[in-house]
Amino acid sequence: MDGTTVVALSTPPGESAIAVVRMSGTGAVDILDRMAGASGPWESHKVYRKILKKADGGPIDEVLVTVMSAPDSYTGEDVVEISCHGSVHIYSSIIEEALYLGAHPAGPGEFTKRAYLKGKIDLTQAEAIADLISAETQLQARVALEQLEGSLSKKIGKIEKRLLEELALLELSIDFSEEDIELCSRDTLRKRSEEITEELKQMIDSEITGKKLRNGIRVTVLGPRNAGKSSIYNALLGEERAIVSAVPGTTRDLLRERIHIGGFTYYLEDTAGIGQTECEIETKGISIGRKAAEGADLILFVIDGSAGWDDESRKEFEKIAGKNHILVLNKKDLGADISCEKYRPKTLSGSAAEVSAKTGEGIQSLRKMIYKKTVRDDAAEIVKERGAVSSRHAAALREAVDAVKGVIAELEGAGAVEIMSLEIREAIEALGKVTGRSVAGELLDLIFSRFCIGK
């Protein structure tokens, strides 16, 4: 942007089969020339095999190099991508060498920022790319991709167009009131405004889902000691992550791992079992677990289903019963039965699951239940159909809704067209914050194309 060249590792850090180092800027090709000991010719978008060397002549690695010449690259600048062997030592050496030859380390999102500044992408697309990079599931990737292709911009564009049509109807009645044109009725205007409000609201609704999709959902496993929390934790993960033993209080620290259900990322947290203990570490572990449960989207309260309630765990359960939770009766293989008299009446008000971590019985349905308790039934459909808006988008959309509601309020009252027009203009303005586009100039075009004007 300002003439500097930046370099960064583009693949996740750590050992892997291959790693990709990316450079962008006017000096990128020059730096490549010097590392490869040859000045091109680098044909754009072609792959070359080269041995890169340090300035002192020592070899670094045999790599594959692709040059994407400006402006046909992601950033719109000259971009060089180097695929090297995936060792920390190798990719670090390449980056160090590039820095030595004049490149700067790229800041977070720098490549996308450059693309935005070069006008290669608009703001919603820039945000989508950020989401795409951090996408872990197909659903996340899909939403990000769709936003990248401008689905959000398109959707908002459609609403903008309808608002503009409504505005045209109002403006028509102001600027051409002397002419022989039939005007739109209050009822029609009202119906249109209500439809638009509804659509905007639906988009705003997707914010919560969108947030969950982007940030993941936190599920904390809580319960008395030795209820088998860690066994359930492992069963849900599908691997032996937490140490399991018959000794009560084996888990002392908070463990956190990711699982994916229905396209969403869940952060599953295993906590120390609740109970009286002398052990200072365990006590601390218990309080960490409680704290984790406070901020969780869902609590799995696990008890030994075959043993039933004891006073302490019952008390503990009542503390969290007001939150989103599932009561998990473990040890189904030993006879846990929710219909049993002793679990009434409190427990049945919430959701409960019978599982056996040992045999795996009920784990699948627990997964489904977790999904249902955290994501609305139609989340996947919503996301696929409407996309999932970010908080920034939602704020702008809310502004637009307020303005359109102002129109409806005015229609119920005096019905002053000049005031309704002002509200709609503000709604359009607010939507423009999402797409970065101003549509006001199209107003007269719309009027002239649809109505016969002219005395």
Binding site: G119, R425, F448
Partner: protein, 637 residues
Amino acid sequence: MIINNPGGKSYDLIVVGGGHAGCEAALASARMGNSTLLATINIRDIARMPCNPAIGGLAKGQLVREIDALGGEMGLCIDAAGIQFKMLNRAKGPAVWSPRAQADKAVYHEKMLEALSSEEGLDIFEGEVEGIAVEEGRVTGVTISGERIRGKKAVLALGTFPNGLMHIGERKIPGGREGEPPSCLLSDDLAANGIERARLKTGTPARLKRSSIDFSRCQEQPGDISPVPFSFRTKKLNLDQISCYITYTNVETHDIIRKNIDRAPLFSGQIMGTGPRYCPSIEDKVIRFSGRDRHQIFLEPEGRGSEEIYINGLSTSLPVDIQEKMIRTVAGLEDSEIVRYGYAIEYDFFPPHQIHASLESRKIEGLYFAGQVNGTSGYEEAAAQGIVAGINASLSLRGEPPFLPGRHQAYAGVMVDDLITKEIDEPYRMFTSRAEHRLLLRQDNADERLFRYAVRYGLLEKGLWSEMISRKKRVMKAKRRLHREVIPAERINSLLENEGAPPATEARKAIQIARRPEIGVEKLEAILDGGGLGLGERELDMLGIEIKYDGYIARQKKMAHKLLKMDKMTIPDGFSFEIEALSREAREKLGRFRPETLGQASRISGVRNSDLSILMIFIEKLKKESKNSGRRGMNFR
């Protein structure tokens, strides 16, 4: 004063053209103390209305009020020459009311000529200006009949005369208006001076003989019962108003047009210029909106004693025989006689990206463009530019900064800003929908918006301004009182009962009651503690508007201030828009329009938000650099 020979004289300002723009420019200049020459081809055609016999109308009425608030003449002339007055949009909120009047064209001309001839320091000369004199990029005068007349500044207000070409059917007649030759030399001379030109088209309908029309078959349209004057300086209008009439075209009319469409210059390819979409010819309407089986027509008298009737809505360039046939299908016009035929006219204009917001040419210093030469249409649009050009040329002579009303201050400001930031692909007409701050730009408050400039520039008496201020103060005081005063329920109910509204259960602030549409300020006065508000009629109206739009006006002001910030960020003179980071479209458009502020840049279509942030970054950087290194060059990439 009309003079016979300006030879050898030297003027501060020379105005070329005696139309609505030229008249206002010349008067403003002379009133600001400059020796001024108004050169016109024909004195009898000063302030002539070649098209419809009306002044004002939607949005245009606001422009006339602004011209008047700036000390212009248009409002006074139409108050004297009007034969029917109407406040349009009265059924809607006062923010969109617009005054309009049917004019006696002959009287309007006389009144304007009177004003011009009696103005001190203003010479009027009949002759065709053939060229401008330019030395070192500055205008130094004009040539009339081969003779040089010196002038420090010049305003070009040429109307449709530059290379005017009229079309009636297959006939093409060079001319600036009916019966008048075009002015070709001046247009060519401007082009030779490097001013880019393009073509536009407009048209006018036929005129009918009044006595040949059967008005009983038409619907009468009378004027307002109590007519409102245009000028803030006119106390009261006393006149007998004359009615207009409404009739309609029909299927038969449309059939005739369709059958002969190949003879219409607009459709045969004979006309190259672009016509206005808001004022299409009847052939255009019939073809484009084929679903409609009738179009509205207004029959408007051209003057009190005039035998000519203008057929508003029937603009056409069809051949004369078809015009006759077509008109006689219309109810009331079956036996009508055509006095003059309708025609279309093509003319040169000079795309206004070539002027500054002051209306001064970017290419030739001291040369101002006003009216149709900038691609606008309409008497009011022209006059508003005329007065702005006249004021700015005068300010420049004084060495003072130009008068640049903002989009939140005046329709005139909206218009000029549009002209320099938008592609003109049809004649530009003012609409209220072009003004995003419409609630601030009302016809009733043009004085509050603009009097101070007129007084500062010496165009209006200071007394008018102080009167306006004390009026405003009285209104605001009354408003504060309504905010304070609490009225008990029983007194509120004495009003509500009459309106058949459900009674109030508790006391309310007076302002809340005033806001109810069925009550309003006037009725409220009767139940106020300690008697009425002691306001005049106009002040009560003002108070009503203040109350009705209370929160909304504040919102618009807030929005205007936000936008104003962008308008305060200037783009340095000579800034290169060849910035690689800008989108291709933005680079092209910015290079063409060369905006002088970021606000202007933001209103150019094709310039996106990302382009604006890039511009901002580069301008900031440039400013920092030039600050750090004293006066280094501006050639920055």
